[in-house]
Symmetry: C2
Subunit: 264 residues, 2 copies
């Protein structure tokens, strides 16, 4: 078992991963935003892993090799999922827990229900399960050429603040989404709850050249939540949204009800 000692406060170790892959511009933007705040180590998937949720690689072995796309940053690329990246980074690269784990900046929104499907956020959740404070960043722009200046600005401000706070909750996990507007147009930051929204699916059915059916997942995002305290509301009103995320999925209210009603 690898030794995992707590990092000293003098030089925080910042683990960075994502789900768009090690060469994604959003990852480079995040590295750039925080590299002056500590020792950054990148461990990211070697290919896009969007929508992988909290998948881990069980039936196949994993590869982990150096990546050379950062001039002055230690970087690795892994054949697995974002969650695999976090696990491998702690056990085989850092040999200890980093002071913080950052994920992103994702090319595309991870607000509301997206937190569950998102590889970006699942990497952050995995870190917080392992008692590593974590933040996932996402920009509401899927483009490879997206403007990350707003995301970078708020990533710097938030990570600096968390690293400097006197008592970081070791299970801190934040889902940060940034509107796709110029940095100077962002009105500020709102701490929010996850909006109740979902995708209404409509698979696109096609025929392959052999006449056999196949399906593409498509879907329309529908927000059912009119609350002004949600991430979707904040983003629609040009605020950065921060949703604190937990990994205890127990539905306590329902638990109380079922304890009274179920009979065996």
């Amino acid at each position: 078992m690898a030794t995992r000692k707590k990092a000293t406060k003098e030089e925080p170790v910042i683990l960075i991963t994502n789900d768009d892959g090690v060469t994604a511009p959003g990852l480079a933007a995040l590295v750039d935003a925080v590299k002056h705040l500590g020792k950054v180590v990148v461990v990211a998937p070697d290919k896009p892993q969007s929508g992988m949720g909290h998948a881990i690689t069980i039936g196949n072995p994993l590869r982990l090799v150096s990546a050379h796309n950062f001039a002055d940053i230690e970087a690795w690329q892994c054949s697995g999922t974002p969650v695999d990246c976090v696990k491998l980074a702690v056990d085989k690269i850092l040999h200890r827990k980093p002071d913080i784990c950052l994920s992103g900046v994702n090319h595309g929104a991870n607000h509301s229900i997206n937190v569950i499907y998102s590889g970006t956020m699942s990497a952050a959740v995995e870190a917080c399960i392992e008692s590593i404070p974590s933040i996932g960043f996402s920009l509401l722009d899927y483009s490879i050429e997206a403007d990350f200046s707003g995301a970078k600005k708020y990533a710097t401000l938030l990570v600096e603040q968390i690293l400097n706070s006197k008592s970081i909750d070791k299970h801190l996990c934040l889902n940060v989404n940034v509107p796709a507007i110029a940095a100077e147009l962002i009105k500020g930051v709102k701490v929010c709850r996850q909006a109740y929204a979902k995708y209404v699916e409509d698979f696109d059915e096609r025929l392959d050249p052999n006449g056999r059916k196949y399906y593409w997942l498509t879907g329309e995002f529908v927000n059912f939540d009119r609350g002004r305290d949600t991430d979707v509301w904040a983003l629609n009103h040009n605020y950065v949204s921060i949703v604190p995320v937990q990994f205890d999925l127990t539905h306590y209210k329902l638990k109380e009800k079922l304890e009274k009603t179920l009979k065996f």
Copy 2:
């Protein structure tokens, strides 16, 4: 867009999926346990999908073909993840919401933190996001030849009770785990919270025939939770555990704290 009308109470439609694949004995056991309670339709992965979490298939198309391993039950096998199966079933097979979605019986435990990694439970969570009451079943025995009699007994009792209840919460999602003991030794059922437990990873590093490193995920399960109201406690004491599961991951306590402390 497919028409999705609510099923009539007279003949409930029961969608069944899993993550071990359409030929898994645990799936056959679940079909057998509930087929007298309504019209069962199986839509399950065409290969094992354990540990896939809430992954969905974005960058590739999906295949969906008839499966012929059930004599008298409509069954389909899908090339995607358990979550894909639920989405495809609703949109392309049932053309409506089933009255209930069942997932499993999984070969192996999905208590405590496993709910997050589990394809079985992610299928159930996906259903409840889509306003379909759902139950995931898991047996604490990974063996292909596991004895499902206890799981079958409690699956029948629970599904019957839920289908007959006057008001089913449309977002009901239950994580049911069954101890790996003979049905008559099971002491009963406990409605529980998810134990705080996790895996301590230790990757197994090997060299391939070309001298290049690769890694197998291994890990030791550690329960940090001494509570007597947890799923792990119930299972250790020969009870079936039922944890009601939610998909709102907002950490409300932390939200309150961060609203006061974060400054931008």
